[in-house]
């Protein structure tokens, strides 16, 4: 048989232990209830969560944020599409310019070559004619120069005696003066 004090001690120990267990369970329950993602059944009605005012505001804000995000993404996508269009258009324009330049270059080259082939003989004939004309002029000048020089040279001996006579007369006069 246990004494009365022993009984009282065991009763207190049991009371404290049960109090601790109860406290522990209560604390755990409280923590579990406040854990995010855990649905508080007290706030549910017909299986749906009943949002309070704050939660409603938060949901609206989140919804608004989502809508803004979606709109922003749409704008970004639209701008990207416009840029894509611009890139495509610019590429097409640059390609066209390159194609036109290349075609003009090739066409001009072909035209010049064709023109030269068609007019080469004509141009060569004109150049040859100019050279022949130059040779003719050279022959005329050569003949005139040589013939006139010989003509003058042939006439100088006829004029020399008179010149020499004049010089002789001058020298004779000088001698007479002396």
């Amino acid at each position: 048989m246990l004494s009365r004090s022993k009984r009282m001690e065991r009763f207190l120990i049991g009371f404290i232990a049960s109090s601790l267990v109860t406290l522990t369970v209560f604390i755990c329950y409280t923590l579990v209830i406040n854990e995010p993602g855990v649905i508080d059944k007290s706030k549910m009605e017909n299986g749906y969560l009943i949002p309070d005012a704050e939660q409603k505001n938060i949901a609206a804000a989140i919804n608004d944020l989502n809508i803004r995000e979606i709109r922003l993404e749409e704008k970004v996508l639209a701008i990207n599409k416009r840029f894509d269009d611009l890139y495509i258009l610019g590429g097409v324009i640059i390609t066209l310019i390159l194609a036109i330049s290349l075609s003009v270059y090739l066409r001009v080259g072909a035209e010049v070559e064709k023109y030269f082939k068609e007019h080469y003989k004509h141009s060569q004939d004109r150049i040859d004619k100019c050279v022949i004309d130059a040779e003719v002029t050279l022959g005329i000048l050569y003949a005139r120069t040589v013939l006139i020089e010989q003509w003058i040279a042939a006439n100088i001996p006829q004029s020399n005696p008179s010149i020499q006579q004049g010089q002789n007369i001058e020298t004779q006069n000088d001698h007479n003066d002396h």
Binding site: V136, T137, L138, L141, A143, R144, V146, L147, A154
Partner: protein, 103 residues
């Protein structure tokens, strides 16, 4: 002109003009060139034309006429043009000589 040389070695301006026309029309004969060369003896020693012909590899007046009448692809147009110029130059010098003599 042959008779002119043998019988009467005179050259008038009209005959010289006619000779020039014949040379320009490529209808001058070797005898015409020979006569021209003879009259060039008035200005210098005779044989001026033939001397220049020989310098270009043409040994006679007849050869020059033959060369001149050849097709253009079978002759040297530069030599022919040069000698043609010498003939024209000689004629113009003779014309000048005759003008001087008349004055």
């Amino acid at each position: 002109m042959t008779t002119m040389i043998t019988e009467n070695p005179q050259l008038s301006k009209i005959e010289l003009s006619l000779l020039k026309s014949k040379v320009e029309a490529n209808s001058a004969t070797a005898k015409d060139l020979e006569n021209l060369d003879y009259f060039l003896g008035w200005l210098s020693s005779s044989g001026f034309l033939l001397q220049n012909f020989k310098e270009k590899g043409i040994n006679s007046y007849e050869e020059f006429i033959v060369q001149r009448n050849k097709p253009s692809d079978k002759k040297n147009p530069l030599v022919e043009g040069y000698l043609y110029g010498i003939i024209l130059g000689a004629i113009s010098t003779l014309e000048q000589y005759l003008n001087t003599k008349q004055v």
